[in-house]
Symmetry: C2
Subunit: 138 residues, 2 copies
DNA sequence: ATAAAACCTATAAAAATTATAGGGTTTATA
DNA sequence: TATAAACCCTATAATTTTTATAGGTTTTAT
């Protein structure tokens, strides 16, 4: 399951995607729309900005806005940013690899082998679905 | 990421699959093989038995053994049993459905729509990979 | 009888997630 | 240029989930 953080991030991105023409959007408005804590959402938007998905404008009249084309924001990226690894085990993670304590030899581990396949197939899905797909469904 | 519980369950099932001929296997032996806490593993094996994957024999000379054919133990089942939902959001879970608090109308939620697709494609993968596939890789 | 081994339930410890708090900085505008 | 609006940043608190332990119960081979 996705964390609330990631779920809220997706909601926020969706909202921003739907309001691209209006220039900037207030954290407040997004928080209100979905009933999310303002402060919690603030942290999430901050992360999304630092990761290069959003731009922001400070001060009166400021707010957030999308700076990437929705079709260039795959689910995989959003999930990795906020939830961490997509792989099911540390020992098959591309971005957050760690050896498993239980295995003496990874190359002889059947779980490892299967999980690499699962990871690759899962990635294919999550890299292909983008914010654009979400927006099309709204 | 899978919980340790699920990871340990997969190790245990793999071990039991590899030692099917020996009749019963001690919790102790599995725990030792992978460096897992005996007591923690005990709870996991208990769940696997209750779910119909394992049989057990009490008393001296007892232990656990597989009662399902490895090809009839898909990853999806093991994960659901120990980790819960496979879906990324409660609102698209087949087995653990709950509405999302943020959505007024699920049928108009683009996230919901996309996540249903992700769920279906993910399930296809996890239902097709079984303990047999793991055992083949050992 | 004894010892081995699974069974069962409760609880404790640790880690991760979720949420809040509070001041700092920037900026439009009156 | 004072003010208020709004994002920025970091720390910490609260909650929930996960992980682990504990301790006795029951069954069974010998």
């Amino acid at each position: 399951m996705l964390s609330k953080k990631t779920k809220y991030a997706l909601h926020a991105l969706t909202y921003l995607g739907k309001h691209q023409e209006q220039g900037t959007v207030l954290i407040h408005d997004i928080a209100e729309e979905y009933g999310i804590s303002h402060k919690f959402l603030e942290n999430i938007l901050l992360e999304l900005r630092k990761a290069g998905y959003l731009g922001s404008k400070k001060g009166k009249g400021g707010g957030y806005y999308l700076i990437k084309d929705p079709k260039d924001i795959p689910l995989s990226r959003v999930i990795r940013l906020l939830d961490g690894p997509i792989a099911m085990l540390p020992c098959v993670s591309l971005n957050y690899y760690e050896p498993c304590a239980e295995c003496k030899d990874e190359s002889k581990c059947g779980i490892n082998k299967v999980m690499i396949q699962v990871r690759d197939e899962t990635l294919k899905i999550l890299e292909n679905k983008t914010l654009e797909d979400i927006l099309k469904g709204e």
